[in-house]
Symmetry: C2
């Protein structure tokens, strides 16, 4: 439990935005470790923790992963590759469960959001990238077949002040009690 | 951008845990609106915002949704039903894109994590629930076929102090540069 209500966290959540250009400054280990702690505190269905992460920081390797990830724009000092661990999404030996794998994917996404929020809270920035060549990245990182990369996440010090993207009005996406009763036919 | 680094946000992220039992106290509107702002600030691929949310607060309706959601334990004052909006995951009229729908699902999960973190920051709690009868919930809420519920999220004031679940050592899930080089065969 928190010692006290922390409304300032809402500012962190509200002002996070995608950062796609990075300064060349590396990420120091203290910041890195704080991001890892946040990453691993995400919800995980049945506490299965059916996830694996690869932190790519070696500049040569960053460049190679980036080459196969069109969604990564600038050159980041860190790419976190977020994966489902399918070894932990099976009900019984040999029996794969589509539903459990699907749930694991949601947990990986929530972990990535924790990572991005922690980065932002620490003055860093990044964005979740789904546009990458999965099989190539898998091979480049020597990932076994059961470790499936879902998102690659470039993170670094922002090269310039990022501008939050405009969102639709909340009335367009938040419904009360059921589907848009104002427009529903009786 | 943030005015200053906010390391206390890391405490919010680190101490969030699933809350499954709720006090009967309702959630006041100020807290509710702050949670909505956080929810909608999540990353969204290509800013598609291919999501819709239904806030269920009417006690009778909460009870009905809960009846078809075995993953919801206590009776919460709010259930947020988080959905993919498939009308926004098509490349061209009539042409569905599996990849875009898959990406939208990740965005919905990240939005739900924002919601849960905001709840925790405000002294509330909840948990993401994948165990619910999708087609029934869809019908109960009058959701059109293109609005697919992904997670139902009960939220309320915690009935007791929640205990964070134990996680594996970070060395078991964080790899450096590539797959577990310490155990890889040369």
């Amino acid at each position: 439990m928190l010692q006290r209500i922390q409304p300032e966290t809402l500012d962190v959540i509200r002002t996070r935005t995608s950062v796609r250009d990075y300064a060349t400054t590396p990420i120091d280990d203290t910041l890195f470790e704080q991001m890892i702690t946040s990453l691993l505190a995400a919800p995980t269905a049945s506490n299965a923790q059916a996830w694996q992460f690869v932190a790519v920081r070696n500049p040569g390797r960053v460049e190679i992963v980036r080459a196969f990830s069109p969604g990564i724009i600038g050159i980041p000092p860190l790419i976190m590759v977020a994966c489902i661990d399918h070894r932990r999404t099976k009900r019984a030996p040999g029996e794969a469960s589509e539903k459990l794998a699907d749930t694991a994917k949601l947990c990986v996404a929530m972990a990535v959001e924790n990572l991005l929020l922690a980065a932002h809270a620490l003055g860093l920035g990044g964005c979740p990238v789904g546009s990458f060549r999965g099989p190539v990245v898998q091979k480049l990182l020597n990932l076994p077949a059961e470790i499936e990369p879902v998102l690659v996440v470039p993170i670094g010090h922002p090269a310039q002040t990022p501008v939050p993207s405009k969102r639709r009005e909340s009335s367009e996406v938040i419904n009360f009690e059921d589907w848009r009763p104002d427009t529903a036919t009786a």
